[in-house]
Structure formats: structure tokens, C-alpha cells
Symmetry: C2
Subunit: 150 residues, 2 copies
């Protein structure tokens, strides 16, 4: 399969790294007149098979999701390290970490991006799918996340 890029340009999610997810989630709820969402924590490495720069890690994250128009805004508070979440917080402070796209064929897309010089930072599983973050910051000014539901 000769894949070129992602085969989509529909942004489905924006991910924002924060220090205190309870506080920030309340601020979004207040300013946008929405309910405060339930805050969840990612599963352990045994379940998510998380790998950061190719190696397993015990890092996790607290997450909260707001539906805002056609996309979801994801708040992310890093828990433990190493992870792309903790690395971003250490290097940049709070801010937008990634924009996400729903793709098909994770390995082929990652290989296609790798051929363009964009390597994989972190990948793992979530209930019903898998994700990968790629190192597109120098090319695009932002990390891309690829999401593939089973």
C-alpha cells in the first residue's frame, strides 16, 4: 500500500496540557457555560501498552473532554513520566500539545510520515482504539495525534 500522508484533513480534537485539570476544567465550564466533565485517568501500561520513544513507560495522564462544535477539546494533566505530555509541560508550560485526526491503517500512516522525516513520539491503546503522537513540531509547529478506532 503506497500511502501518502493521512488521507484526511479533518481536525477532530485539540489537546491542551495543564497543571491542574480540576481547576482548568472548572474554568472552561464557567466561561463556556458547559457542565464540568468527569475527569478520568489513563489505564496502566499493562492495559494501554504505552511506549514513549520506543520504550514502555509508567507515565499516565488525567483527561477531561469538552465537545466544542464538531471537535473535542481534551485537557491533559501529566501523571508521572516520561511521556510526551510531561515533556511538553516541562519544555513549554501549559498550552496546546496536539491536534488530532481520525485515520485508518496506523502502521502505514506512521511509515508514510516517517518517510517525510516525521518520527513517532509515543503510542498506545485506549478502550476501542489506538493512538500515536508524531514529532511534527519542526515541520508543522504542532504535534499531530493519529487516532484509529478498531
Amino acid at each position: 500500500m503506497n500511502r501518502q500522508g493521512l488521507d484526511t484533513n479533518v481536525i477532530c480534537q485539540i489537546g491542551i496540557i495543564v497543571r491542574d485539570i480540576e481547576r482548568t476544567a472548572k474554568a472552561y465550564a464557567d466561561i463556556f457555560g458547559m457542565d464540568t466533565p468527569k475527569i478520568i485517568i489513563t489505564d496502566t501500561e499493562e492495559i494501554t501498552h504505552i511506549k514513549f520513544r520506543g520504550a514502555p513507560t509508567q507515565a499516565r495522564a488525567k483527561l477531561a473532554f469538552f465537545q466544542m462544535g464538531s471537535l473535542s477539546l481534551e485537557l491533559i494533566e501529566p501523571v508521572g513520566d516520561p511521556s510526551t505530555w510531561k515533556e511538553f509541560l516541562d519544555e513549554h508550560g501549559e498550552g496546546v500539545h496536539h491536534i488530532a485526526f481520525r485515520i485508518k491503517g496506523m502502521d502505514e500512516v506512521l511509515e508514510s510520515l516517517n518517510e517525510k522525516g516525521i518520527s513517532t513520539i509515543q503510542r498506545g491503546d485506549y478502550t476501542g482504539g489506538r493512538y500515536a503522537y508524531v514529532d511534527s513540531t519542526s515541520a508543522l509547529g504542532v504535534i499531530l495525534e493519529l487516532l484509529e478506532n478498531y
Copy 2:
């Protein structure tokens, strides 16, 4: 009018600060299989009435827009200073500068946000409308842009 917040939670734009807009626009076009958009430059202060932290400024920006799903991705290369664009580049390097929302009643919305401790960073006019950036980074982890077409 007793406005509470923005009266919308529909994200219409993501703005990314870059150092070299020609290079980054080509990278987006390549990775997402899109045409490279025309790069424009904001008008002069005499036309835009740009104010940064309340004072007129000669700062401008080069802009390029990609339509990605229901929202536009805006690349921004700061030209001159002072501006929120140049300040972000100096403090954070390349990255996502803002998420934007279409609102009605700019002054009322800015006053409502000010009452919540979120002040105005920069505002100005564009052909057919006006914009404002607000200092929501400590509350929300990202700057908000408000866009109001006439």
C-alpha cells in the same frame, strides 16, 4: 445586557505561530495533500486600528489559511513588534497561539470576560470584521480569539 461568557463553544479556527510561513505552509500542503494557500500580510495600523495592550503598534503578520474540516487552521508569522504574535514566538517558540470563536457583541463579551479576570491583549479590524485576543492562558491554557463579522 447581562452577558455571561461567549454564548458559543464552537471552535472556528486554530492559530499557529511559525517562524517561516512559506516553509510551514508547504509542509502542511505536502502532509495533508492540499494546495499551498496564498500568503497575505495584515494591513497597516492606519487600516486595522491594531492595539496591543491598549496602545497602537506598527506590528503586522503574514497569514495563511487551510480549511481543515469545519475549522480553519491559520499560520501566523509575526512581522515587527510589539504584538501578541511576536510575544508568543519570543516566549514559547513555534506553537498553537489561539483557538477562535465567532461571537456577537464584541464590547459586551470583552466586558464579561474582564469581569472573570480575563483582560484584552490585542484587538483590531480586518476586512469585514473585528477581532480581539484575550489573556486566558492562565485560566484555560490557551489564548482565545474572538471574531465578529459586521
